[in-house]
Symmetry: D2
Subunit: 363 residues, 4 copies
């Protein structure tokens, strides 16, 4: 057990605070022989970075990840891969003024009660800044999966009532369209509508929630270990570990409540001599094990709790106070947007681990 680690064989250990010296991750268990470079990691980090458009936090992060170990002449050696991203100098002084105020929707109260101490500068360990570790490790996992012909794409599925409905058949196109959109929404019309919603909510100094969907293709039959290492159980844990996430569903998820067995069962058929199902309500898993169909799931993110609007609260001395965020503390109007590459990375970490566990299933 280790609160900041995830995975069984392909295992990551994360560390860092928002305004600390650096943030990083150690990947242990990545097989030897994989080609990986700083650049590949930094490309994915650039997608996660704020300031990519006016729809995310205007904060500038010019994160540069550096591989410190485990890679020799461009190839993994089987040794732990340590990746570091130095934080830029932050002016943490502005947080002094609100350090004793319980921030609604925030972790400062619970951290203080649990640990008796809270690194309040920029949210410390509870900050979404720490997902830098996830995306860096995810880059390595994605490379390993690509070597095994598995690809994953995540995108913004819904904000308020705007929902992406059309299925894009081809994963490559989906990926391209998603990256084209400033809000990672692959459907042009929905993308524009979401941008409009976000412009409006920014005006009101408020924030919005959203849903991110992911699709993994090329997943072989047989990944996932019942009873407790089911593929959907590990995906659920991974996704609910992302700050601000409040729910996860696989396949048709909560919609199952409205269907009956005869509709929801995916029927097995043979196509080009291969076994598949004619629908995919299950989202690519049966009994916790991948079925060979695409693995699909969704994660919901709450509206950013840090809003510019004034809020009532109390302080640690139980006095009533009014909370105004310090000037210059710039926040995302909708964290779901920047969660897109994080969801993709989490899915990659789960699948990479399953892929290695699979090697022990038979004699």
């Amino acid at each position: 057990m280790s609160s900041n680690s995830f995975g069984n064989i392909f295992k990551i250990t994360t560390w860092g605070e928002s305004h600390g010296k650096a943030i990083g991750v150690v990947i242990d268990g990545c097989p030897a022989g994989l080609n990986i470079t700083d650049e590949e990691i930094n490309y994915l980090l650039s997608l996660r970075a704020p300031g990519r458009s006016s729809y995310t936090s205007p904060r500038k992060e010019t994160d540069r990840a550096q591989i410190l170990s485990g890679v020799f002449r461009g190839k993994t050696t089987g040794a732990p891969i340590s990746i570091i991203v130095y934080n830029e100098d932050h002016d943490s002084s502005k947080y002094e003024g609100i350090k004793n105020i319980l921030r609604p929707g925030h972790a400062n109260y619970t951290y203080l009660e649990k640990y008796g101490i809270f690194d309040y500068r920029g949210g410390g360990r509870s900050s979404a800044r720490n997902t830098v570790s996830i995306v860096a490790a995810g880059a390595v996992a994605k490379k390993f999966l690509a070597h095994n012909n598995i690809n994953i794409v995540a995108y913004l599925k819904q904000v308020n009532d705007v929902i992406v409905k059309n299925k894009i058949k081809d994963l490559k196109t989906l990926s391209e369209e998603t990256k084209k959109s400033a809000v990672f929404c692959p459907e042009e019309k929905s993308s524009l509508e979401i941008m409009a919603l976000i412009e409006a909510i920014k005006e009101e100094k408020d924030s919005l929630g959203g849903i991110v969907e992911f699709i993994a293709e090329g997943v072989p039959v047989g990944l996932g270990d019942p009873f407790f290492e089911k593929i959907e159980a590990n995906l659920a844990k991974a996704m609910l570990s992302i700050p601000a996430s409040k729910g996860f569903e696989i396949g048709d998820g909560f919609d199952c409540v409205h269907t009956r067995g005869s509709e929801n069962n995916d029927i097995f058929v043979v196509e080009n001599d291969k076994i598949k199902t004619n629908t995919n309500h299950a989202g690519g898993v049966l009994g916790g094990i991948s079925s060979g169909m695409p693995i699909t799931g969704r994660v919901v993110f709450k509206p950013t709790p840090s809003i510019e609007k004034k809020q009532k609260s109390i302080d640690t001395e139980k006095n009533n106070v009014e909370l105004s965020l310090p000037k210059g503390s710039r926040h995302d109007p909708c964290v779901a947007i920047r969660a897109v590459p994080i969801v993709e990375s989490m899915a990659a970490l789960v699948l990479a681990d399953c892929l290695l566990l699979k090697r022990s299933s038979k004699l």
Copy 2:
């Protein structure tokens, strides 16, 4: 890592198959000194058992759990607690006829591909029968939680369009009303409507999905370890480990997509000199750590995949076939009903573990 284990300190290891000799669980890490008896475990198992009413499987299971170790003169000793439930003799011969057929919505195809072998008698390891282990271990976890004034109640929240809407303020009443209902639904009107839905679907030889909600009260501030042992992340993993579950949400969950930050943030207030929030959209967690408010979540279950209706499928030789379940293979028309005590047990296992982990948070 161990696929059939769950938990960090309060850790369970489960084993058994539907038609094997027995099913069991080993609990390691339960503190010494807890009073626990076979009877307490068997009472909870009786709630899970099929045949409790006409709304669940008519199968008879007279499960009797026996504690084999770890308890001396009625008290836990700190040694592993082994609990066993012998399976009654089953006639497994009827499964011979369908053993080569890929069953829609079932795990036999994925197990066969993964392991090269499948104990097809009654679903083997993939059977929901294995949740007997969860409920038995959950009984011990619940006893430990009760010792710490933490109580959990789960109930059937929704089937199709029938939703329990009224909040029952008092957990004790909720528990009583839930147990009174043949379908574990605490609201009389909804309970009757759900029964009617189930009567109808049985006529059609089909099945229905459902949603189970749980509420944990008395949870102190400070349970849950960021980054990856967040309380909601472990709940998500636990719930998605239950057979047929397809999604989990905490607090307002997926509804967050329709709200804004200023609505969704729970405002801190002081009541009787204690800190609480005036709403509980978060479901009792902030930053992965319990806030002292009730922990609430929901799990969705797909319609039972085993239906009496004839279904098209293929066999392992890729021939088209028609699947008729063997006579006497009696299934639940709605697995969500019997999932109620399982969800309650899973939540208990997560909280018991968090409670012990909490002991290491400070010097």
Copy 3:
């Protein structure tokens, strides 16, 4: 983490007390497709059983292990393998008289202090009786290793000044000679001398220590994961987990203190086009990874602390007392003898796990 579990992928969880209802083990992670029967397990248990000769405890144990899960039609299915051995009815009443006495060399004092409760009947969880679980699980591990052409033999190497010195070249012969000896000592002269020592110590109502050696042949190059899953580190942990063990060494072990590098280094040579070393001071490991040479190590066991001789002690109330073991509490004059199959099993568990971990070392 789980105190009663061992292994990473091939993982066991043990449970039971000396005078409890049963003792058992759950093996999780054994690959599917392995042939294994109750008989194979019971054969190894018979070697561990007391009463095999006059040189071990006269207690009669007619242990019969039963596989309860994870095996279908003689083959493992990939599901957890639960093995149970019921304890015979013991008369535990005789322990009542000494239950408050701190027993020299025993765990009752430390258990009481740690847990506040102690199942004193026959030593409870601290009893060597619990190694039944190890031997049962070891039988499965040995079968898996044999499938991979790896074989392990342990034997009694030393008691007092009697040391087995001749190396027996052939593992099969070593195994046969060892089993022929009532004290598991493969050299006839030493075997007789050790028996004489034990006869004498029994007369004196005292006990002796001993050293057990093991040799594993057929181990491929590449097992063991630096830094903390080194093969010798896991062997050390396994061996020091055996009750009454006080030390472990690999290869030349403590004798290294008397040699110099140029003597101790094993020189690489090519023989029949295969790489090997001309000596094996290292005991088959280099940098924590198996070198392809036989893996050899030794474990020392202290003299049985339970002796018939009267001993001074105190009771839980800190009064001076004299301890006389209850009549009929029969103990081994030298636990090292019966430790032989346990050491063999522990080595098998470590190697089986390493073998599976190895599958993830390369792309």
Copy 4:
């Protein structure tokens, strides 16, 4: 499971290579509120550093550890503590000439076979250089132990036939005398004799083995979890994880083979109303749990395999070759000397973890 991690609650993850960019460790699970500084870590690193005297490697390492996370205003926050030590620029080119030679006593052959790739610069991940991580983490563990009045001292016990025999009663004096000695040997006469041995072996371009002993005082009764988290089992694993270690013993260890039960049993007595034993053959553990007596153990280290003397070997193409170490590759004539602070750190890591696990033993 994670090959480069150790511990259950107080858990470390290590990374780095000898000639890589940096070496580091992440400590997860250290309770919040502990005062710790870079300086405290660097002081212990200075003891481990080569070049401290002419009896260790003349290599210069001016290691400076830096805490990158988990500490806020001098106190741990409960978040993971990341510690980094940058490697100085090394000229790795000299290793090019021997990169295809199998080095006797070294890990390059086994690494190459296991991973298909080997970072041969300075030994890569297999280098003793990586124990920097252990000592850095050990510094934090020692601070936590000191807060709980537990102190550990290790010292050089034996080289060849020179053995430290006098017991130094007082741990503080032992610590001071040890640090005074250039070879960490607290007895002046033995210290001088060992220095003479080392001077002589350096002349011969050869190396020597040695034994390191540790003593932990102030350990409360009740640390260590049977069956597999026994305190001696975890110490054994920790010690055999140190490069070049070949054996571990607790208490009287291998000497037990020469004693009988009535001699080896430590008798319980009451002194100043406290329970203790009048001898400590057991080394402070009974049944895997600490007894309150000092915990003592020994670790043997083989002679450094890297020697200047020419050695026969083969290369990866199986050609016979002669190995001469590259000029400037400076090695310790006796690794046991510099192992002293490492053994101390490993013991601290084990005890810190046990101390936290202990918190869950009772209700």
